[in-house]
């Protein structure tokens, strides 16, 4: 569905995305990264708003920039709030749908239907200025979906939504992804995890990891992780940890905490802690490495920023 080769986008001397090569097959994909990582630029390139500085991007086999054949098949919901405050959701979605090539009557029908799907029927005729941010978010989503695109691209779609609306939207988007393709960009991992999507992690404009959630977890096994141990003789414990197989680094934090960096946290728990207890070191607290996807994401971010894990 999307083929990207050596994709680079520069804004003058500022790097938007840097040498990304990835293939995204039809289906659901999550694009993860902290704020400023390059997610919106990546989506801008995929949805034909921006042209690559170097490399290529092909969507449905064609370049998307200024290509009506591709744009007709894409629905995009940007992160920025809707600033058009005088229009109603019905007018706004009808307007966008007409611009996708539908007749006035058909566009109005589609708009009403999709507004119902996003739970905005009651507010469909109220000016956008009178709606909450969450409701405007749903209006934006409706605008992206009303023309039945083959690929729905959502940039931070859950911002401003209350938990109930968020759950509703996740269900809606998940149902969408059963039959069509979806890319969701977010800086919050749990939002993307809820969509059962494949994951791509983008940091500093670079794609640093991609795959299924299981593959990303597998990646975690290959990354050094931290085990934090609070004990009454930290220097003694640090010496024991240094002799434990697989430990790559040890550092002291304050007077009572030892941070052990290892690719095999289990070894620290199974070998170093019993030995320390045997040698009279009182271990008060042990916080194992966070191997959840959130933890992996955090590790990738720290690694990218040059902070030792």
């Amino acid at each position: 569905m999307i083929e990207i080769r050596g994709l680079t986008k520069l804004y003058g001397s500022v790097i938007g995305v840097n040498d990304i090569t990835v293939d995204l097959a039809a289906g659901a994909h999550g694009l993860l990264g902290p704020n400023g990582a390059g997610k919106t630029t990546f989506l801008g390139l995929v949805t034909g708003q921006l042209r690559p500085t170097m490399g290529s991007v092909r969507v449905f086999g064609e370049r998307p920039f200024g290509n009506p054949r591709v744009l007709r098949r894409i629905g995009f919901c940007p992160a920025a709030d809707l600033g058009d405050r005088t229009a109603t959701p019905l007018q706004w979605v009808t307007y966008l749908t007409r611009l996708s090539g539908f007749t006035a009557a058909s566009a109005a029908t589609r708009a009403a239907r999709v507004l119902e799907e996003v739970g905005l029927t009651d507010a469909a005729r109220r000016p956008l200025v009178t709606l909450s941010k969450g409701m405007r978010q749903r209006a934006k989503l409706a605008g992206a979906m009303a023309h039945d695109p083959d690929l729905l691209v959502l940039d931070e779609p859950f911002i401003g939504l209350d938990p109930v609306a968020r759950h509703h939207l996740v269900e809606l988007v998940r149902a969408w992804a059963e039959t069509r393709s979806l890319i969701v960009a977010s800086h919050l991992l749990h939002e993307v995890e809820a969509l059962d999507a494949g994951l791509a992690v983008i940091l500093g404009g670079r794609l640093v990891a991609s795959g299924t959630a299981a593959e990303i977890r597998g990646l975690a096994e290959s990354l050094p992780a931290e085990v934090r141990v609070r004990c009454d003789a930290p220097r003694h414990f640090a010496a024991i940890a240094c002799e434990t197989p697989g430990v790559e680094a040890v550092r002291l934090e304050g007077d009572a905490v030892v941070v052990v960096v290892t690719r095999h946290p289990a070894a620290v728990i199974e070998q170093a802690v019993p030995r320390a207890a045997h040698e009279g070191v009182g271990v008060r607290e042990l916080v194992p490495a966070d191997r959840s996807l959130e933890g992996v994401f955090g590790s990738l971010v720290r690694l990218h920023r040059g902070v030792k894990a």
Binding site: Y11, Q49, R69, L71, G83, D84, L99
Partner: protein, 272 residues
């Protein structure tokens, strides 16, 4: 979205799709203009020429009439009111969308960029023409001219020519430098329309102001009594040539603006 309607698109013809898109945007933009502040601004614009005529008449102790009045109406309506109206409606064509965060919604629609520009152009021409025509009616109600109907018809024609040509002129800065389009357009108006337009050389052939003067003078029958040095400031070709020239100028400028906008990229930080 389990029941996709796949056959209800208007047309796969690029031309028809472009026309439909521009029509859609024009309607939406006109609805956006129907706000209290915009209507108040339009009312001020419509009343302004009549107020100036009344003030000038009082200042001249009731001696303002005939050709000087027509000259003043020309300067106030097809020149000033149209220029100001187009500055506030056409110049922000792209900047408004960037500020509202709506640019990206339009840029990802097939032909959305062109529809935005042409649609905004149509809306600017319609809105400004209506304001200027109302201004014409109000001004003629207080002005003393020999044949108000004839003068009114002539001013209406000049209003339309002014709007068609100058909206296209302002479309170019609107797409080249959206965030400074107003300043750039004022500069263009001063340099192109009011400086180059009065230079009796080839350079003034591409200005709307020359065409407007060249329509006003024969329509008022002033060509026979115009001093020779003033005749250098008009084009002696017949009115249909002037209209054709404005039409060609508008098409060329709009095409250039469309080509530029089609290639423009706005980084995400440009929005909001």
């Amino acid at each position: 979205m389990t029941d996709p309607l796949t056959d209800d698109r208007t047309s796969t013809s690029p031309l028809l799709a472009a026309i439909a898109g521009a029509w859609t945007v024009a309607g939406f933009q006109l609805r956006r203009l129907l706000t209290r502040p915009r209507l108040a601004m339009a009312a001020v614009g419509a009343l302004f020429p009549a107020a100036v005529i009344v003030a000038a008449d009082r200042a001249s102790r009731g001696r303002l009439e005939g050709d000087p009045t027509v000259g003043m109406l020309y300067a106030l309506i097809p020149e000033a009111v149209c220029m100001l109206g187009l500055l506030v409606t056409m110049c922000p064509a792209v900047a408004d969308e960037l500020e509202r965060g709506t640019w990206v919604h339009l840029a990802v629609r097939p032909g959305g960029r062109r529809a935005l520009l042409i649609g905004t152009y149509l809306a600017a021409v319609v809105w400004t023409s209506v304001v200027a025509l109302v201004a014409t009616v109000l001004a003629l109600a207080v002005a003393r001219v020999e044949d108000p109907w004839a003068v009114g018809r002539m001013l209406a024609a000049l209003v339309l020519v002014s709007c068609v040509g100058r909206a296209a002129l302002f479309a170019v800065p609107a797409v080249i430098m959206p965030k400074r389009a107003l300043v750039a357009s004022v500069g263009v108006a001063l340099v192109v329309e009011y400086l180059a337009g009065f230079i009796p050389a080839i350079v003034n052939q591409a200005t709307v102001s020359l065409r407007l003067r060249s329509l006003l003078v024969p329509w008022m029958g002033w060509d026979r009594k115009l001093p020779i040095e003033m005749q250098l400031l008009i084009d002696p070709q017949p009115p249909w040539v002037q209209l054709l020239a404005v039409g060609i100028l508008a098409v060329v400028l709009l095409t250039a603006a469309v080509v530029i906008l089609d290639r423009r990229q706005f980084p995400p930080s440009d929005e909001i």
